[in-house]
Symmetry: C2
Subunit: 198 residues, 2 copies
């Protein structure tokens, strides 16, 4: 899948970042040249913190960034802040995307100043109705909340049309999972999504 991302990113000249498990990131980093991000990172430093995903090993394994507060891995606000603070202090080039599931959450999380902020209404995740079709007003509002931070949108995004609506509203990128990884022809789907940005 990472190789497919690399091919499409090269062909369409747009950045595509695979989100990878801790188990797999080193191996995948040996196979592709595009940046890889970790699906989740803990705030714990290396050392007496057995069994947590620490930044030091994440960097050694070749990751260039991470997602925090993914809809399937929610974190308390304090944990997100603590993790991002540690990253900014020690490794400011390591990128962080924070997910939020509501505009209220976006307003709170934007203050932590992540590199990217993503909005995914939980009720649309994995579904057939995309966030961009469903609620253009919410996206426009989200883009406003983000100000200078690139606004990413996710949930139900399945084709170039969904992407185009989002881009027109000010979104700078998309978060996508099931519609690509479970697709019969993932490369074709990814190419179609990429076209939405062109």
């Amino acid at each position: 899948m990472a190789k497919i991302c690399q091919e499409v990113a090269g062909e369409r000249k747009i950045p595509i970042i695979p989100l990878v498990q801790a188990f797999d990131i080193y191996r995948i980093s040996q196979e592709v040249k595009i940046p890889l991000w970790l699906q989740h990172l803990d705030w714990h430093p290396q050392g007496q913190y057995t069994g947590w995903l620490n930044l030091e090993t994440t960097l050694d394994a070749g990751a260039k960034g991470t997602i925090l507060n993914h809809s399937e891995h929610k974190l308390p606000f304090g944990t997100v802040r603590r993790t991002i603070k540690r990253i900014k202090k020690t490794t400011p080039q390591f990128q962080v995307l924070i997910c939020c599931r509501s505009l209220g959450q976006a307003e709170r999380l934007v203050k932590i100043e992540p590199d990217f902020l993503a909005y995914e209404p939980p009720e649309l995740i994995g579904g057939e109705i995309s966030v961009s079709e469903f609620n253009a007003t919410a996206i426009a509002h989200f883009v406003e909340i983000c100000e200078k931070i690139p606004a990413i949108i996710g949930a139900g995004i399945k084709n170039k049309n969904d992407v185009r609506i989002g881009v027109r509203l000010g979104a700078k990128g998309i978060l996508v999972s099931s519609h690509v990884v479970l697709a019969k022809a993932p490369k074709k789907t990814l190419e179609d999504l990429a076209e939405g940005f062109l």
Copy 2:
């Protein structure tokens, strides 16, 4: 370090199991033949559980077991039970060691029937006074609580003498970290600890 464990295990004919991070386990599994265990596992299955350490990938990466409720990664009782239930149902050969920090906790956790139960009084972890020197009565009681489940002891264990006292009291193994991984001569320390079992 895993290679050192393998050498000492081979020379002294005793099992030594390195406890490895998710990031590293696949690579290390390619380098050694002794079993490797993960430092922590989540209960979440593969699929829509982004950013969790799932059993399926753990097995693919070559792990033969895991620790749950490590002193640096405490878990609610229900989470331990849920995780072990899932393992026993799908992969009974995958081994689980549960850590506990008190005898009361041991009494509760032994009912979940892990493959190993470990007792580590938190105040002694990483210190110079070993659990076996400090409280022989507690260890004897812990061994009793374990019944048929192999009793493992940890905290402050630094030489063959500490091991011998524990073994005499009925312990079947030890959990050791800082006294080996931070040792100037880790192999020598490991050989010394191994002698305590002979």
